[in-house]
Symmetry: C2
Subunit: 193 residues, 2 copies
């Protein structure tokens, strides 16, 4: 089963091949050393005035941080993300005094994109999600109120689709789709939806 993006022109294999699975191989574990290249890639992403207004909390399956993170996942995420080797929670500085505040979530997105691309190059898969209790995470990990807990990402080795229940298995194997490029890129005027 190829999950490669059906691109209109060739792009870097690591970008075409990256996708976001929900099935992770629980026989494989991860350590900080396994994720260091991905964090290093995130570190070198661009940000407004090089402010780097992001932080990453990471837990590894089996440790207390990971256990606390999985407790606060919601919906479907609670069923599949705990099988990942690691969970990363991304947060950004959301301080009225921070002149880069408006761009902080944008820059966190850039950092997480770099993280995901490097992780994929290292044989790992990343699935980002929004469904978790941000306030509970902030309280548990003493995140200052000037920081916004924003996104959770499961990271691990790919598992078989058969490990998922029927609904998620169908999503796992459905064709990857995106809006056509000519509805996304324009020269003038703004494209119709």
């Amino acid at each position: 089963m190829s999950r490669n993006a059906d691109t209109s022109t060739p792009i870097l294999p690591v970008l075409a091949e990256r996708w976001s699975p929900r099935s992770f191989d629980t026989s494989r574990s991860l350590t900080m050393a396994d994720l260091t290249p991905a964090f290093e890639a995130a570190r070198w992403s661009p940000s407004l005035s090089n402010l780097q207004e992001w932080r990453f909390l990471v837990g590894f399956r089996g440790d207390a941080t990971f256990a606390a993170m999985t407790e606060h996942l919601s919906g479907w995420n609670a069923s599949w993300a705990p099988n990942a080797g690691a969970i990363v929670i991304g947060m950004y500085e959301d301080d009225p005094e921070n002149r880069g505040r408006e761009y902080a979530p944008y820059d966190l997105g850039q950092a997480m994109a770099h993280f995901s691309v490097q992780a994929h190059a290292d044989g790992l898969f990343v699935h980002q999600a929004a469904g978790f209790d941000r306030d509970a995470i902030a309280a548990h990990f003493n995140v200052p109120t000037t920081w916004k807990v924003f996104v959770v990402a499961a990271v691990g080795h790919l598992g078989a689709p058969e490990l998922l229940d029927e609904t998620l298995r169908a999503r796992e194997t459905a064709p990857r789709v995106r809006r056509p490029l000519d509805e996304t890129v324009f020269t003038h005027p703004f494209p119709a939806a």
Copy 2:
């Protein structure tokens, strides 16, 4: 002069080598075909529930779109960005009816990161900036009020630092720096600033 990131562990060369110059080679021009792989890379970036709530306006040096864009650059950007081969303006859907609204700037950041990485792989350089008149751009290009004009990116072939004035030349050649990884990634508790 190497501009490669000084990483604590090896990462993909395209991620280590990517940086954001201000000097562009005005003897080189760009066409849509040159940017199609980068837009295609952006297209295949991940987004919340695959909503893809981003659009890109693009102008090429010499055309009317580019001219209108450069008119509305502010500050230093007005001095260097017009030398780029193309200017890309990223926008995201900012509609109260959009359930992914809060993640739209984050996802635009991911899309622009993919764009930048692919552009670099194609021998191009990208410099993103926030200093431009968003309202004027929205008005000129008939961007609906439910969309937020957010970021401008100059794209082109690298020029010599000597083409810049003294202040910008110093920035162009200064060592690339980032906060150390152990101040960015934590397991518990939140790291001190």
